[in-house]
């Protein structure tokens, strides 16, 4: 799961949609390491981590009719790091890892404060991009070993009928 928008674009501030997409796929280890002290800070829950099912929809070929592909287990939470009108961090992650959801929400809340953005971009988002990139490359390499080059002999169509016509 590596998308075109995962590449950091120079001279453009990160928008929330992009970093939330990264955080949702970040492994717990990366989050723990990058958040360090914040990982164990007290939080004020708006919604405690809860696990449920979400319907995933797809389109055949990306353009066909929308259909329900299946349900996926999702854990979500919403929190504030401080009282009052502090930014609300929200996270939706695939699976049942509540700790991962919590850390992703903490990271989302921190990223909304400009003071933390530069450091987190360097210590958290970039490693996540590298991780996702490596994962995608590995999967690609694995898939490449099963690739079969079909060699098709082009049939010289038309010549047979032409001969019949001549006869």
């Amino acid at each position: 799961m590596f998308h075109a928008f995962d590449n950091a674009e120079p001279n453009r501030p990160m928008d929330r949609q992009a970093w939330m997409a990264l955080l949702a796929r970040a492994p717990q280890g990366l989050l723990e390491a990058a958040l360090a002290a914040h990982a164990h800070a007290d939080v004020r829950w708006l919604r405690r981590p809860e696990t449920g099912l979400m319907m995933v929809q797809g389109r055949a070929g990306g353009t066909g009719e929308r259909f329900n592909l299946g349900e996926v287990t999702v854990t979500r939470c919403a929190l504030r790091l401080a009282a009052g009108d502090a930014p609300v961090g929200v996270a939706y992650v695939v699976g049942r890892n509540q700790r991962q959801a919590r850390l992703a929400a903490v990271a989302d809340a921190l990223l909304q404060e400009p003071a933390h953005q530069a450091a987190l971009e360097l210590n958290l988002l970039e490693p996540i991009r590298v991780h996702l990139h490596n994962e995608a490359a590995q999967r690609h390499a694995r898939a490449q070993t099963t690739k079969v080059e079909f060699f098709t002999v082009a049939r010289e169509s038309g010549s047979a009928t032409e001969e019949e016509d001549d006869a």
Binding site: R44, L46, A78
Partner: protein, 211 residues
């Protein structure tokens, strides 16, 4: 809901199961003993607008299948995204389409007759109204309540309802088994007015229980 709405909302129940059960118990007591003020356990953070007891009651009662109408003051306040976020309820713009109606103090109450009152087959498909009021200890203008759940009569004095509320209520009561149920809410307490309760200005004969 927009991200900006989320910025101003506060948390819900500290413990969802215990908090909502305690609130439900208070609501049940209020409807079982009409006219008696039941203290609402405040085990939740509450929005800035609207009475706290009403907010906690709705937080306990609503779920994703419920439709809710909010009076203009509440609809424009942080109470709307708060309920939307924590309960997943659907906000509607017409009071007549809502299963729950919450009217803030000072806002006009929609006429009871205009709300969904269910059918004879399904009287449960009716609206539950939560009205923010002020409890008064006025003895002279107190209602005298009677009906199921009230031994003899009960007295209830509130301020902040439309002047013709008792008339509207008489019509609501007459439509039984159809009709709306009402919760009156102060900042800390709720009182129930189920559709079986009669409001009279004078005390009727004691022990007149309705079938």
């Amino acid at each position: 809901m927009k991200a900006t709405d989320l910025q101003h909302i506060v948390g819900g129940f500290e413990h969802e199961a215990f908090g909502s059960q305690a609130a439900f118990r208070a609501a049940m007591n209020a409807l079982s003993y009409p006219g008696r003020w039941a203290p609402m356990p405040m085990q939740a953070e509450r929005p800035r607008q609207g009475h706290g007891a009403a907010a906690v009651l709705l937080l306990a009662l609503l779920d994703a299948d419920c439709t809710l109408w909010l009076s203009p003051t509440l609809a424009a306040s942080d109470a709307a995204p708060w309920l939307r976020f924590h309960t997943g309820c659907q906000l509607v713009t017409e009071a007549s389409e809502a299963q729950f109606v919450w009217v803030a103090a000072g806002d006009a109450m929609p006429a009871l007759a205009s709300l969904a009152c269910g059918s004879d087959n399904q009287p449960d498909h009716s609206t539950t109204c939560i009205l923010d009021v002020r409890a008064t200890d006025g003895e002279s203008d107190a209602w005298v309540l009677s009906g199921p759940g009230i031994q003899g009569t009960a007295r209830l004095a509130v301020d902040g309802l439309p002047p013709d509320f008792a008339t509207q209520w008489a019509h609501n009561h007459a439509a039984f088994p159809r009709g709306v149920d009402v919760f009156l809410s102060t900042p800390t307490h709720v009182a129930g007015l189920p559709r079986t309760t009669r409001i009279g200005a004078t005390a009727p004969q004691p022990h007149t229980e309705e079938a």
